[in-house]
């Protein structure tokens, strides 16, 4: 996610041509050594080390003697590593649900069942290969100052109306993902398009306001905080809390809120499936949820909240996610998005 989609693809291909060792693009890398290590758990993840290091350490505290080698990569690089290069990893964690689904669907994931994974709700696992361990809503983040004198939007139609009626205020101050380069942005946008027609109208309005396009949630949130942006649309809500700011406010959309499930899976290339299973159990165990969310700031799997709030819609794992990965579908979608977003 951190790297432009196309760039990652290209780099992946280029490096693949160069040689087999770690041809995919690594962003960050860290060893978590222990004395008298009996095994090393190889993790590839799209999650920042800043967020995941405490989790890894908590896992090590509970499983003495396990060293961890943690690699951060973009979701496309992760896909390249596992799908094309068949790199050896014990754990793959990603926010790109569609790519994780494709990996599992195409046979790159190991089936794992345990008493712990069985406690996950139906919607939080697929084929006993992909397991969700966080539920992160896609939200709109606004700067309260920028909305002074205006009512706060409660749903997308209201947001569209506000943007349309106040072009001078929002011109070049609206931000969203560049879905061409961001896998997560693409996932959110496609799910939006599935949920409601309003997405295309919103895109059109944002395009007319010459919206800024971003690669990542963090930058957008930062720009809202600094006042450069009035609205950032389809941002990972949990990051906002992480950055905490007085002026920044999350719009509680009442029409619907897509929820991304961060998922973990055991790649087929693993040489220590039992150890990998232990890590999956660690992430998915109900009793670990509070600790994990405290350590990482990521919202845990929480079926109760989803039941109470009808607007929260977890993106469904399953073959439906393969649809937007279809080459033609992607081309069509990007064409439509581009014509709405980037207006002459």
């Amino acid at each position: 996610m951190r790297l432009p989609y196309l760039a990652a693809c290209l780099t992946g291909l280029l490096v693949l041509a160069a040689g087999p060792a770690a041809a995919f693009q690594i962003e960050e890398e860290r060893n978590f050594p222990v004395a008298d290590a009996t095994a090393t758990l190889e993790i590839i993840s799209t999650g920042d080390l800043a967020i995941f290091a405490p989790l890894v350490e908590a896992f090590q505290a509970r499983n003495p003697g396990i060293a961890v080698h943690y690699i951060t990569a973009s979701s496309t690089a992760l896909m390249t590593a596992l799908y094309e290069e068949r790199a050896v990893f014990d754990i793959a964690m990603s926010s790109a649900m569609d790519l994780q689904t494709k990996l599992a669907n195409d046979g790159y994931a190991l089936t794992y069942t345990s008493a712990t994974t069985a406690t996950l709700p139906e919607w939080a696992r697929w084929r006993d290969q992909v397991f969700a361990f966080t539920q992160e809503p896609a939200v709109a983040v606004v700067s309260k100052k920028a909305f002074e004198g205006l009512p706060m939007p409660g749903n997308r139609n209201e947001l569209i109306a506000l943007l349309r009626e106040n072009p001078e205020r929002f011109e070049e101050r609206v931000g969203t993902y560049d879905v061409r380069s961001s896998g997560l942005g693409y996932l959110f946008a496609t799910q939006d398009s599935r949920q409601s027609e309003s997405f295309w109208r919103l895109s059109e309005v944002m395009g007319r306001l010459r919206a800024r396009l971003y690669c990542c949630s963090g930058q957008m949130i930062g720009d809202v905080a600094s006042g450069r942006l009035a609205v950032a649309y389809n941002v990972i809500g949990s990051y906002v809390k992480f950055n905490g700011n007085d002026d920044t406010w999350i719009v509680p959309f009442k029409d619907y809120t897509n929820i991304m499930l961060r998922t973990v899976m055991i790649p087929r290339t693993t040489r220590q499936p039992d150890l990998a299973g232990r890590f999956v159990d660690f992430l998915t165990a109900p009793e670990n949820r509070p600790a994990i969310s405290n350590l990482s700031g990521l919202p845990p799997i929480d079926p109760e909240t989803l039941e109470v709030e009808a607007a929260l819609r977890p993106i469904r794992l399953g073959p439906g996610l393969l649809v937007f990965l279809d080459q033609m579908k992607r081309r069509t979608f990007l064409r439509a998005w581009l014509s709405a977003m980037v207006q002459p």
Binding site: A104, N105, D106, G107, W126, R127, D128, R194, R316, G318, P319, G320, L322, V323, F324, D326, Q327, M328, K329, T332
Partner: protein, 466 residues
């Protein structure tokens, strides 16, 4: 005659077993048919369901295709693939081709060998990427730039869940089949038993009969057994007639022998008186003794024949056993007096009556008393007592004679069997035979024992009370 009847017949298999085995084979066949049909039906139903979803998915994809400028343009609907994930978590693959050239999807997904026709999709089960998959292929014509092209859509889904369902159903079907077999096996066992019950009953009623019971079998029998019964009855009829002829012949013969023997004895007595020479007197005595033996034999043979004949069609009249015993004792009185033997008689009060043939019972009593007197020394006492024992009356005759000795006592009931201790006592060996047969004919028994009060024999004749 006391030996149980040992058939010289070896059984060639058992009707019941044959019946059960055949019924079991049928049950097993039915179970297998049940299992096969249930599991195939279930599998087909599951397959049809999957085929239907696959076809719907392929159709949805196919319909989404349209011509745009000079190209086929396809915007796969989200539902086309998501519907495949609705029921099960199977892996999903698809491939879209225009005139055989893949435009999107998994280019290596194999098409079914039978090509699809317009509006007639084709299905195939193959292996793709290590899993068994069900593939559907649909075809449609699209006109692109004035040219008609064939749009082929393949959609495939793994069958792991289906296989699991099939397995579960198969196991359930197997359980049902086994259960069916067990139930029908048990039922066929009962059925065989029931069907053969009349045969068992007939065999039992024939086997239960006394050795001399040659009355026709009168029990009701199923039509299949009637010929056998008729044959059996006619056979017994003939046997009875032939037996009767034999007995009649014996009686006639005995009678015819006895009369001239009496004459011979009388003449011999007269001759003995006139003969003076000791040697000749001895000869005469032996002649008389031989005549006595013959005459006794003839008499006993006659009695035996009578007993056999009368027990065949036993009279069932009630009579007073005590009175009958007194009569018989009175009859034997003179013979006992000759040896100065006293006969003491006692009977339990309120004994009740015995049902049967008084003549036969009297003959039995006479033989018992005759033995007691014959085998007792002079000036001894014979005790006759009648006592009630349960639902029977028991006559006991005790003497102070030589007793039965140590040999096989039961043997003495046999025809012409005499003890080793008879010395010069005249006898034919038929007495106890007669008593035994009378006892059996009445459903009673004859028991030989030693006199528990010292020397001598003790004989019990047990007869059921009316």
């Amino acid at each position: 005659m006391n030996q149980p009847f040992k058939p010289a017949i070896s059984a060639t298999g058992s009707l019941r077993r044959r019946l059960i085995v055949q019924l079991l084979v049928i049950a097993a066949l039915l179970s297998v048919v049940l299992y096969v049909s249930v599991s195939t039906f279930a599998r087909q139903a599951a397959e049809t369901t999957q085929d239907n979803i696959l076809e719907a998915s392929a159709a949805a994809i196919s319909e989404a295709a349209r011509a745009e400028r000079d190209q086929v343009f396809l915007d796969i609907p989200y539902s086309a693939l998501s519907m495949l994930g609705a029921v099960s978590e199977e892996r999903v693959f698809y491939r879209v081709m225009v005139d055989g050239v893949t435009i999107t999807g998994y280019a290596d997904l194999p098409a079914p060998e039978v090509p699809p026709k317009l509006r007639r999709p084709s299905f195939e089960t193959t292996v793709f990427r290590g899993d068994e998959v069900r593939v559907v292929a649909t075809v449609r014509r699209i006109t692109v730039a004035d040219e008609t092209v064939r749009l082929t859509v393949l959609v495939a889904q793994t069958r792991a869940g289906l296989a699991a369902i099939s397995l579960r159903i198969s196991i359930a079907a197997a359980a049902v089949g086994i259960g069916f077999f067990l139930v029908s096996g048990t039922l066929s066992w009962f059925a065989a038993r029931n069907a053969l019950r009349p045969l068992d009953l007939l065999a039992q009623s024939v086997a239960r009969r006394g050795a001399h019971d040659l009355r026709p079998v009168r029990s009701d029998a199923p039509s299949e057994l009637v010929p056998l019964l008729v044959a059996l009855n006619s056979f017994m009829d003939r046997l009875r007639a032939s037996l009767m002829r034999t007995e009649e012949f014996i009686a006639e013969a005995a009678h015819r022998v006895r009369t001239p023997l009496a004459t011979v004895r009388a003449q011999a007595e007269i001759a003995l008186r006139s003969v003076k020479q000791p040697h000749n007197r001895q000869t005469m005595r032996e002649v008389i003794r031989a005549v006595d033996e013959s005459s006794r034999s003839a008499g006993q043979l006659l009695d035996h024949a009578m007993v056999t004949f009368r027990s065949d069609n036993l009279a069932r009249t009630e009579f007073d056993l005590e009175e009958l015993a007194r009569d018989t004792i009175r009859g034997i009185g003179p013979t006992a007096d000759l040896k100065d033997i006293a006969i003491r008689f006692s009977a339990e009060a309120g004994l009740g009556k015995v049902k049967g043939d008084a003549i036969l019972v009297q003959s039995a009593l006479r033989n018992l008393l005759d033995n007691a007197v014959k085998y007792s020394p002079e000036e001894s006492t014979i005790e006759v007592a009648i006592a009630r024992k349960g639902r029977t009356a028991r006559v006991s005759v005790r003497d102070q004679g030589r007793g039965f000795g140590d040999g096989d006592v039961e043997r003495l009931k046999g025809r012409f069997d005499r003890g080793t201790n008879v010395a010069d006592v005249v006898g034919s060996g038929l007495g106890l035979t007669i008593v035994d047969e009378v006892a059996r004919a009445h459903g009673g028994s004859l028991d030989l024992a030693s006199n528990e009060r010292g020397n001598g024999a003790c004989v019990f004749l047990t007869l059921p009370l009316a």
